[in-house]
């Protein structure tokens, strides 16, 4: 079961096989099986509906529209469908519908995009209904066969039972009849208290092939006659490709073609990728770097610092009372300036896509976080209409937001277009991946707090200056020019709401967009906003001699869910009780992606600058926990990503381009540096929050606050390596 196989090129071009062998999806007019209203998978098994295919042996194929990149949604979404379907979990396999098939069926599978920790929370309702609808049809089919009322039948573990007579049948036996029935207009979903599979830490469905080398990622695709491409885009963003001397490399071994991909990019196509890369490295290229070549991290920092000045224009993201006036008249005032750098996603698998173009068809094989966006990019780059395009999704070797972008898909198609009929696999080198990221945006933040004579916080002014992601990536999402996502964790309400009530509050953003292309990077603006807010909360507490947890609690009485996770980690870490000798604690909380999260760290510091993170306790209230084992893994994984960024990350600009080129200059945590992670899940129900991202926000501030507790030194700048602070 759950066998992932290599996608196959077929003459029909319809079949893919991310699920069991021969179980690719099929659509269209050339289906040789069955009645006119029944849609069938490639092996002839009928669809009960778009989410559920059942084979005669009761194998249940659950379709997953969202992408799997390690976060476990493939398994979690299957659990949601299986719960309502009442199928035998051991008989579940999964497969991806393709974007082309979805488009051809009026977007039957809805949104494919897999980002913003939305994979489960924004499709849970309709995939559960898909499972419930299929169950009702299967039961009805059995009832019809037995000529009994469906209300006398029950379903469990893929078996339907007629309770009065004790007769039984299986899903596989009635699926043919069920597939011909009209789906019910409405179905009732289970009460969460009756869930049997949702909430269980079942094993992932895709593990075995990841341990044997059999799992096929985009970079592993092999097609008959395939060539390989290596690519270089102008390292100065916005610069152009002036010229290159292809004669210098055309005689090199294996080289087939040098392609001007677009006005800033050149690629070498060869028999193997190693030959393509070797030739590309030898290719003399002249860039027209343009004005941006004058930009540096220093010039960006200076420009952002100017935005911290209240006289500069800014968008207001959250406001109550009059913070500026309250601060001006305050008895006591505390102010601090923080900053957070660019970060590269650095997925383990560099960007890649394989494309096969002919004037009649363009197909792409790739890992993507957004199948429909990759499909649109394929259409645009190929110039072919939707019915002549297809994207075959493969598992991603990491996503973290980077593979929501489609630049690499577009490039692969443009290259393949130069070689009609020949499949070409484009793979970026790590160096290209580091140079051509879509970077976590750079910001600075000035925070000012004011107290009355009784040490009550009367005002808080949070002034962010820096880059907007939406301005570049999704300008239509700006609200009168404002990037509301810039206020993640600090918003007045919604799925990223602030957890504190302050009588006078002002949160604003002076938008400054350097030339470096930004992107959504796991946790997005929660990363820096949580550092800014949560470290400053500690500063405020310390300035009035109060315990950081007690200080927060006083401001959180109107935010019970925020407070509940804070209390949960405080209790679990032993806040208020003595820590082991030489161990210091820090705490943080934030809300993001619809979930309430908190974290508390225990660290020790040697020689003033060597940090050992012993333990981090995390708590999350995502409403419902679909798979606690996967939630635990996402929390621990988010801490590795967030702490890698805190300690080792940071991408810097010199002469308009990024300075970091590989993992030697952009390091990532190893197992030796991994703290013990303990999770306290407190799902309170009634809403669906995300899991993959929110907790990333609390690791860094919890560690920084613990560092202050240990050393008395405030760190307000990331990464720590720039301040000679390292892991012990």
């Amino acid at each position: 079961m759950n066998k992932h196989v290599m996608p196959k090129l077929t003459r029909r071009g319809f079949v893919i096989g991310t699920a069991a062998a021969g179980a690719g999806l099929a659509i269209g007019l050339d289906i040789p099986f069955g009645g006119p209203t029944v849609v069938r998978a490639a092996d002839g098994s009928p669809e009960v509906n778009v989410w559920v295919v059942i084979r005669p042996d009761d194998t249940t194929v659950i379709r997953i529209a969202r992408s799997e990149m390690g976060q476990g949604s493939l398994t979690g979404l299957a659990q949601l469908v299986a719960e309502e379907l009442e199928c035998d979990w051991s008989k579940v396999v999964t497969e991806y519908p393709t974007p082309g098939q979805s488009v051809a069926r009026k977007r039957a599978w809805g949104d494919f995009s897999t980002g913003g920790s939305r994979g489960i929370r924004s499709s849970q309702d309709y995939v559960r209904k898909g499972g419930a609808t299929a169950r009702v049809m299967l039961v009805q089919a059995a009832a019809n066969e037995w000529k009994v009322p469906a209300s006398e039948c029950t379903a469990a573990n893929s078996i339907i039972t007629h309770t009065p007579s004790g007769k039984t049948t299986t899903y596989g036996k009635v699926v043919e009849a069920a597939a011909k029935l009209e789906p019910p207009a409405e179905v009732k979903l289970k009460d969460p208290k009756d869930w049997k599979i949702i909430g269980k830490g079942v094993k992932r469905l895709d593990t075995v092939d990841k341990t044997t080398g059999a799992m096929i990622y985009g970079s592993d695709v092999k097609l008959p006659g395939m060539l390989n491409a290596a690519i270089k885009d102008c390292p100065v963003f916005g610069g152009k490709l002036k010229s290159y001397d292809e004669a210098k490399v055309m005689g090199m071994k294996g080289v087939k073609k040098v392609v001007r991909v677009n006005d800033s990019t050149v690629a070498v196509v060869a028999d193997t990728w190693w030959h393509a890369k070797t030739a590309l490295d030898a290719l003399p290229i002249v860039w027209d770097e343009g004005e941006n070549a004058k930009v540096s991290s220093e010039s960006i920092a200076k420009w952002l610092a100017e935005g911290l000045d209240n006289a500069q224009p800014a968008y207001i993201g959250n406001q109550n009372g009059d913070a500026k006036a309250a601060i001006a008249g305050a008895v006591k005032k505390v102010e601090a300036v923080y900053n957070y750098p660019y970060q590269n996603h650095a997925t383990m698998e560099p960007m890649n896509a394989t494309a096969l173009y002919t004037p009649d068809k363009c197909e792409v094989w790739c890992g993507t976080q957004n199948g429909e966006a990759a499909f649109a990019a394929t259409m645009e780059a190929s110039g072919l209409p939707a019915e002549k395009c297809e994207v075959h999704k493969l598992i991603l070797g990491g996503g973290f937001g980077r593979r929501g972008m489609t630049d690499y898909v577009r490039q692969a198609v443009l290259i393949a277009k130069e070689m009609p009929g020949t499949p070409v696999k484009l793979l970026w080198s790590r160096e290209e991946d580091m140079a051509q990221g879509k970077f976590h945006p750079v910001t600075q933040c000035k925070l000012t707090g004011a107290f009355d004579a009784d040490n009550n916080l009367t005002a808080l002014h949070v002034r962010i200056s820096g880059q907007s992601i939406l301005y570049t990536v999704r300008p239509a999402a700006l609200v009168n020019g404002m990037d509301t996502a810039a206020f993640q964790g600090l918003a007045p309400s919604g799925d990223a709401a602030i957890g504190y009530s302050v009588p006078n509050l002002l949160v604003e953003h002076s938008m400054r967009n350097p030339h470096v292309p930004p992107g959504f990077w796991r946790g997005v603006n929660v990363n820096q906003n949580a550092i800014y807010m949560e470290c400053f909360m500690d500063e405020l507490a310390q300035s009035v001699g109060q315990d950081p947890v007690e200080f927060r609690r006083k401001l959180m009485s109107k935010h019970p869910k925020h407070l509940a996770v804070l209390n949960a980690v405080a209790e679990k870490i032993g806040w208020g009780k003595p820590a082991p000798q030489g161990v210091y604690r820090g705490i943080a909380q934030v809300m993001g992606y619809g979930s309430y999260v908190a974290g508390a760290a225990e660290i020790s510091v040697t020689e003033g600058s060597k940090i050992k993170v012993h333990r981090i306790v995390a708590s999350t209230d995502p409403g419902y926990v679909v798979n606690p084992a996967q939630v635990e893994r996402q929390i621990a994984g988010s801490f590795v990503y967030g702490l890698s960024a805190l300690f080792y990350g940071g991408c810097t600009v010199k002469d308009g381009k990024m300075e970091q080129t590989n993992f030697d200059t952009y390091n990532s945590m190893r197992i030796a540096e991994m703290p013990k992670v303990e999770c306290v899940m407190v799902p309170s129900g009634g809403f669906w929050g995300g899991v993959g991202e929110p907790t990333i926000g609390v690791a860094a501030p919890a560690v920084l606050n613990a560092y202050f507790a240990a050393t008395g030194k405030r760190i307000r700048s990331v990464p720590l390596k720039d301040q000679n602070i390292t892991f012990a």
Partner: protein, 149 residues
Amino acid sequence: MANLTINGKSISVDVEDDTPLLWAIRENVGLTGTKYGCGIAQCGACTVHVDGVAMRSCGVTVSEAVGKQITTIEGLASNGALHKVQQAWVANDVPQCGYCQSGMIMAVAALLKEKPKPTDQDINEAVTNICRCGTFQQVREAIHAAASA
């Protein structure tokens, strides 16, 4: 042309002598379980065994590998049974995206051969692979599980 011994089989590959073993394995031999991550022996995604020792195949040339026993992730299972490290990985549900896991498993298999009951410190020193998903907590648990299997 070079003769390599990979997973017990002799295979001749038509590549230049200085071709990294990684690319000969992936492109010429066609075993894609060994992954490219950095090309500079930093990340460990391309870890294979060369005469039983875990090495980063992006940093070994084909000519250096001639005459040596090379084992890739595809050759770790024997007689149809997964290696105990692979079994522990499955039992502990270790991989997330999975891309780094071939290299991680090869590094661990070599460690356990050297030190059948590794301490946490042994693990810290021997397993230096990068995992951006952050599976380290499960990796450590699975190593101890494999060691006691």
